[in-house]
Amino acid sequence: MAHVQLTNVKKSFGALEIIKGVDLEVKDREFVVIVGPSGCGKSTLLRMIAGLEEITAGDVLIDGVRVNDVPPDARGLAMVFQSYALYPHMSVADNMGFALRLAGVPRQERGAKVLAAAKILQLDPLLERKPGQLSGGQRQRVAIGRAIVRSPKVFLFDEPLSNLDAALRVQMRVELAKLRRDLKATVIYVTHDQVEAMTMADRIVVLNQGRVEQVGSPLELYRQPVNRFVAGFIGSPTMNFVDVTATAVSDQGAAVRLPGGAVMTIPVASANVSVGDKLTLGARAEHLKVAPSGPLRGQVLVVERLGGLTYLYVQLTPADLVIVQAEGDLSVKVRDVVAVALEPRSAHLFRSDGAAISLLGGQPPAT
């Protein structure tokens, strides 16, 4: 069993508060990804769980035991660092066995454990090499192997893939997901890359300026972001936002005036919306379609052809640029004027303070 609980955890450096009270529960064998823009405090939070940073206020509990004052190695965690942090003067085997050596594990037992971990990661032919003689991906695997050897209760990953090139990153992502299944491990994983978060997590924690914005499964966050920050952060390409004004409120939702003058009724719980409110309409690229009847019109600024699909950057008004997803073979050229349609049930409405107005009848349909 490995269960991590954070209650109102805070961290300050002098007068500067980096983590402003985080509550989080990580269940046994859960893969939790903490994601956020750089400087949001996600690495600091992970380092506090690891024991590398002191906890200013609040409690960190591992399996119900408060570990605020327990040194890092006694918490039963293992961490994989962004820079790998391998010991450059030691062989791969010595790197992986270092913790066991410090713990006084006999040489034979140590060797067996290192070999077992090396086999999982296909590192067994490289055990005698030094880190300097390995490629980036191999170093990454040694860093993971060093964590596996300790059979920790919880694996902590601090942006482990950000030093790898794009192709290797995708490959390691798949390997990590597989590894995690094989090891049946509890994982807390920090990244700034929302694609990593979406693809690997059981649950995602979106952190912004030291606060948790939203916790939920990848699709929950994707479909029901609680505020504009989460909506904009999760998903690629970024959700489109346009400023709208509420023109009518009814049981059916709120009618809003779109750029260009058309009015559209969005099925949201409109109890707290009044006519004249300045709102933000959010729509993902795949929910926008090029259709002659569409209520939005604009000139195509850029055409990005990815083969299977095409992204059109459409300038609706001088202030509103939206990304529209279209089929790969759509014959649209730069400077063409297109009409864009939007399915009201897949749109999101946000108040001026960023909070989402919940949709009527639960989540929107999947695409």
Binding site: A50, P72, D73, A74, L77, F81, L86, H89, A99
Partner: protein, 273 residues
């Protein structure tokens, strides 16, 4: 000619000129060591002469070179070793657990090198007299440790700073205590730097003349005092002085020559990042 080639020629010429300028006194001293006293002071100076070993024989007859050399080796090596052992934990603390005052502390340590040694000669002499450290090898070792400790600590601190912090954090996660972090990780990783620090410290100890001449009389004299015993206020006996000097510097010059790659790395530490 391309401007780059021109620049290269100019820099090479300048480099050689500077090197020759620096090396000339040593070259001249080496020549004088093999001249007779008369030839050594003749004007114009003679570049070609029949060399003699007579000076070395006379120098050796006045005092046993090996005793002085032995003192120099023991003092330089011991002082360096102890200074490094003292500096390692200090550098570890300053590099990886800095406080608000670490910068001040480093500057203060270095500032102790700015005072002329003669300023504390009388108090040190009296303290040494009281502690019966005058004219002892231990006395010189202690003063050399104190003399070099700021530089040694500063250098090891800079080499430690080059070790990525994450490596020590990984070690902390693996359960390494501070002493293990130093012995199992930092010392092996900073070994080239520690070696150049040791070389520099040995050279500084070997060449130190002020304290060795003032704090010793007969028993603990190193080679610097050996040279000094051949210099006469009237400027006589150049050939013998040169022979003694050559004997005194020969070991350290050979040592420095053999380890010059390490030395250059140490002396330019922090310059290339």
């Amino acid at each position: 000619m391309r401007p780059r080639t021109k620049r290269k020629i100019r820099m090479t010429f300048l480099g050689w000129a500077a090197a020759l300028l620096v090396a000339f006194p040593i070259f001249w001293m080496t020549l004088a060591a093999f001249k007779t006293e008369i030839v050594a002071v003749s004007t114009p100076p003679q570049l070609f002469f029949s060399p003699t070993l007579q000076n070395f024989a006379e120098v050796q007859s006045r005092g046993d070179y090996l005793i002085f050399a032995g003192n120099s080796i023991v003092i330089s090596a011991s002082a360096t070793l102890i200074a490094i052992l003292l500096a390692l934990p200090a550098a570890y603390a300053m590099a990886f657990h800095p406080s608000n005052r670490t910068k001040d502390l480093l500057l203060w340590m270095l500032s102790t090198k700015m005072m002329p040694a003669v300023g504390v000669l009388i108090p040190i002499y009296l303290i040494y007299k009281g502690l019966h450290l005058l004219d002892t090898v231990y006395g010189l070792i202690i003063i050399y440790i104190l003399m070099n400790l700021p530089i040694v600590a500063w250098m090891i601190y800079s080499f430690f700073r080059e070790v990525p912090k994450e490596i020590l954090e990984a070690a902390r996660m693996d359960g390494a205590r501070p002493l293990q972090q130093v012995t199992l990780l930092l010392v092996p990783l900073a070994l080239p730097g520690i070696a150049s620090t040791a070389l520099l410290s040995i050279i500084l100890c070997w060449n130190e003349a002020f304290w060795s001449i003032n704090l010793t009389a007969t028993q603990a004299r190193p080679l610097t005092a050996f040279i000094a015993s051949f210099s006469s206020p009237e400027g006589l006996f150049w050939a013998k002085l040169s022979a003694a000097s050559l004997l005194a510097i020969a070991p350290i010059v050979i040592f420095g020559f053999m380890t010059q790659r390490q030395l250059v790395r140490g002396l330019t530490f922090g310059a290339v990042k």
